[in-house]
């Protein structure tokens, strides 16, 4: 019994433990790893990915997938850049708004037309990318530096990066919704067994719609921060973001088949993958070895695989013993 408890604890906190070990490793090996500047830039940069992963987490918990988040972020950044002269609120509204629209289209295709989420969001991924390039005329769209829009990506509030504050608020809301609202529990029920959930009288289609719309909106928000942080709407950014988001969610122990998941562990997953990236950069900085971007990708892939295999083994060991 105690072994089962232990396995379960390691299973659900595995990603947190891995994160702690990685931070400890970085702290011992590199000077300034836990320096204020490094921490702030890690948080600032990874906020975008965190937002995208949060939406992805909800979609995956319903048993679906959203491949469009990366290009929706790109589209959102372009829309926000165009709206940026009218101030940060306008930029936010444009970026998030366009994300919500794509999310709603995804939801419509999936719940009304019964198109598989993989296919539906693959289609919108391509369409969103094309729309972004069309809107931007195949170039970056510079943002206004006079309207205060760039504060959304570059500014600080009470000493913390604004993007990190936005992401933190989003995660707190996400955690509340998942654990303390009927809709949140419905997300897990629909993902665990859609048939049962429907027979229980849960509005399965409405719940799935909310998940995809939220995912689209959060991807759009990530795009706003992208534009504000780098000073331009980037129609070709966002490539591979969906995979990074899926990886973060899965590392956090959320089942790809749906029905089981955690908002907190997803955040830990984002930080784990993000900090791994930082560690590799520091390693380069030490000058012992030189890791090209390609090698960094290989290492992150291998790392992801190891974490997922370890989790699978823990879960398997637990179920055979119970």
């Amino acid at each position: 019994m105690t072994r089962i408890r232990l396995a379960r604890m390691v299973g659900s906190y595995g990603v947190v433990i891995a994160l702690a070990l990685l931070i400890l490793f970085g702290y011992l090996r590199y000077e300034n790893f836990l320096g204020l500047f490094n921490i702030m830039s890690v948080l600032r940069y990874n906020s975008m990915f965190a937002l995208v992963a949060l939406g992805m987490c909800f979609v995956i918990m319903t048993g679906g997938i959203d491949l469009s988040v990366g290009t929706v972020a790109a589209l959102g950044s372009v829309a926000a850049a165009y709206a940026s002269p009218y101030g940060p609120i306008a930029g936010l509204a444009a970026g998030v708004g366009i994300g919500l629209v794509v999310g709603a289209i995804n939801a419509l295709m999936i719940t009304r037309m019964h198109i598989m989420p993989f296919i539906a969001t693959l289609a919108s991924m391509l369409a969103a990318s094309g729309t972004a390039l069309l809107l931007a005329n195949n170039r970056s769209v510079p943002v206004s530096y006079q309207s205060g829009f760039t504060e959304l990506g570059q500014g600080n509030l009470i000493g913390l990066p604004i993007p990190a504050i936005i992401a933190a608020i989003a995660f707190i809301l996400g955690w509340l919704v998942l654990n303390y609202t009927a809709t949140g529990r419905g997300v897990l029920a629909v993902g665990g067994s859609e048939e049962s959930a429907k027979l229980m009288g849960l509005p399965a289609d409405r719940i799935k719609t909310l998940a995809y719309v939220a995912s689209g909106g959060l991807a759009g928000l990530a795009g706003v921060i992208l534009a504000a942080q780098f000073g331009a709407g980037q129609p070709i950014e966002g490539v591979g973001w969906e995979l990074f988001a899926i990886a973060s969610v899965v590392v956090g122990g959320t089942l790809l088949t749906g029905g089981v998941g955690s908002v907190g562990a997803t955040l830990a997953g984002v930080l784990l993958l993000g900090i791994l990236f930082t560690v590799l950069n520091f390693e380069n900085g030490l000058g012992w070895i030189s890791l090209s971007a390609y090698w960094q990708s290989v290492i992150r892939g291998a790392f992801l695989l190891v974490v997922v295999i370890l989790q699978a083994r823990l879960i398997a060991g637990e179920t055979t013993r119970t």
């Binding site: 509340l176 654990n179 303390y180 529990r185 049962s196 027979l199 849960l202 089942l255 029905g259 089981v260």
Partner: protein, 508 residues
């Protein structure tokens, strides 16, 4: 219309892809009555219920509930209007906690957020009505089928329903649990709640129901007070023909000549594995039907799984055909001549989207393939032989198995194992969830297989099936063999006594 009518459905039609499932069906339930709804598989019971609960939309007809016209578009609306349903296949969300499964859809809130404390308390309170104590925070998949069933019932009752529909609620419960369920049904009745009770087990209907509605081929053929209709009458109305009771038998099994039985084919001594199987010994002769009797959790299925090497045993020995038998995996067991029809057809047996032929050939693939390529003509030949031999009702070998009735699916699975030409066939609940007519056919089939020399190990929760079907009965209780009885010794009383209070001390 009578003052005491809670539900009245009249002239309800429903077609699926042009094929009629309900033809002018009617159904009336009074306030505070327990009403049995029976019929063979395909008679339209499930369709009628799903029309009522808004899962299907009716093509024609009228429904009134609680004195008002009733039209719902979803199970959610039906639930809100006071109709709760417990479906035959337990419809819970396996990964989620008991509390969530009970409270989803009518969450308790505080300051707009879910109040977990109150919801856990509510779940515990509802389960306490069934004398069940369980950690309501744990996922339902960690609990036994019986507990899950009780959770499903607790959920339905928690909705303050005026009408609770139970679609074969007892199929996964043992006798004690059925007793508890019946107490709950009587309690509901006393509170003025109506219950619609769907079951294939006739004894249960007489135990708890007031009236019965019998359906056949999409029509309502008879409505009667249960006290005014005999079992035989009930069954013949259901089947639409007069069936003769074979020598006073309740099953299609007939007496067999003990002299025909061969020497011992399979013997197991002191099998054990974990807490489910502690010390089980039994043997099976050629041409013999050996029955396992016991309550749910007595270790019958678990013992069969050890013989088939589906689980690892921790102690004991087995022989097959006189030589030691020590399979490492089901592959070894199949190679040695064993077959195993599992209890849970849906989860472990059939592959729903594959054809009859493919399902039948699954176990035989390795044998039939020539260097990895399946020998199609030979496969077709075997499949057609068994479709004929087992009289499987299907449009052809290529029909999808999910389109067949439960009885015919079971026959396909039987065919799958027979095609491997086994020496010993293990049948776990071979007639569960199958209508009365098909049940008799399966039973007759099992008997004729044994007559041809096949050794059969039959696990059944239906007492008469074991008593009338088996040449020898082993009674299991709490993981021990508590009794071995010959056909002559195995009376209903004797077997039940052993199941309930067989002496654990004297057990071998």
């Amino acid at each position: 219309m009578g003052e005491d009518l809670l539900l009245a459905m009249a002239s309800v039609d429903k077609r699926f892809a042009g094929i009629p499932a309900l033809i002018g069906a009617s159904f009336e339930v009074r306030r505070g009555e327990v009403h049995a709804l029976i019929g063979q598989n395909g008679a339209g019971k499930s369709t009628l219920i799903k029309v009522l609960t808004g899962y299907h939309k009716k093509d024609a007809g009228s429904v009134s509930f609680d004195g008002k016209p009733f039209e719902v578009a979803s199970p959610q609306q039906a639930q809100a209007s006071g109709i709760s349903t417990i479906y035959q296949e337990i419809n819970l969300v396996p990964y989620r906690s008991i509390t969530e499964n009970i409270c989803l859809g009518r969450e308790k809130r505080r300051f707009g957020l879910l109040d977990w404390g109150a919801m856990h308390a509510e779940a515990e309170r509802l389960l306490a009505r069934f004398n069940i104590k369980a950690d309501v925070r744990r996922p339902v998949m960690e609990f036994s089928t019986a507990t899950q069933q009780m959770v499903a019932i607790a959920r339905a009752i928690g909705f303050d329903a005026k009408l609770v529909i139970m679609d074969e609620p007892t199929s996964s419960l043992d006798e004690r649990e059925v007793g508890v369920l019946f107490d709950v049904i009587r309690q509901l009745k006393a509170e003025g709640v109506s219950v619609v009770f769907v079951s294939h087990k006739l004894d249960e209907l007489y135990a708890v129901c007031d009236r019965v509605t019998i359906m056949r081929d999409g029509r309502t053929v008879r409505v009667a007070e249960i006290s005014g209709i005999g079992k035989l009458d009930l069954v013949s109305s259901m089947l639409g023909r007069e069936i003769a009771r074979v020598e006073g038998h309740a099953t299609a099994f007939t007496d067999r000549d003990p002299a025909k039985l061969g020497e011992t084919l399979f013997a197991a001594e002191h099998l054990s594995a974990g807490s489910a199987v502690r010390d089980v010994s039994f043997s099976i002769r050629r041409g013999e039907i050996t029955g396992f009797a016991g309550l749910l959790g007595a270790g019958r299925t678990e013992t069969a799984r050890l013989a088939f090497a589906a689980d690892k045993r921790s102690g004991g020995s087995m022989t097959l055909g006189g030589v030691p038998y020590d399979p490492a995996s089901p592959i070894d067991a199949i190679a040695a001549g064993l077959g195993f029809c599992t209890e849970d057809r849906k989860a472990e047996g059939i592959v729903p989207n594959m054809s009859v032929a493919e399902n039948m050939m699954l176990a035989l693939m390795p044998k039939l393939a020539k260097s990895g390529i399946i020998d199609e003509p030979r496969q077709r030949q075997i499949v057609e032989k068994f479709i004929k031999a087992l009289s499987i009702k299907c449009s052809g070998p290529n029909q999808k198995i999910r389109e067949l009735s439960g009885g015919n699916q079971q026959k396909v699975l039987l065919g799958r194992w027979l095609a491997t030409e086994p020496r010993l066939l293990i049948l776990d609940e071979p007639t569960r969830g199958i209508d009365v007519g098909a049940k008799g056919e399966i039973q007759a089939l099992i008997k004729s297989l044994a007559d041809d020399g096949l050794a059969v190990l039959m696990i059944s929760s239906e007492l008469e099936e074991v008593i009338e079907g088996a040449d020898r009965v082993f009674v299991l209780r709490e993981g021990l063999t508590v009794s071995e009885m010959s056909r002559a010794e195995a009376s209903e009383d004797a077997v039940m006594a052993a199941m309930a209070e067989g002496n654990l001390e004297v057990a071998r």
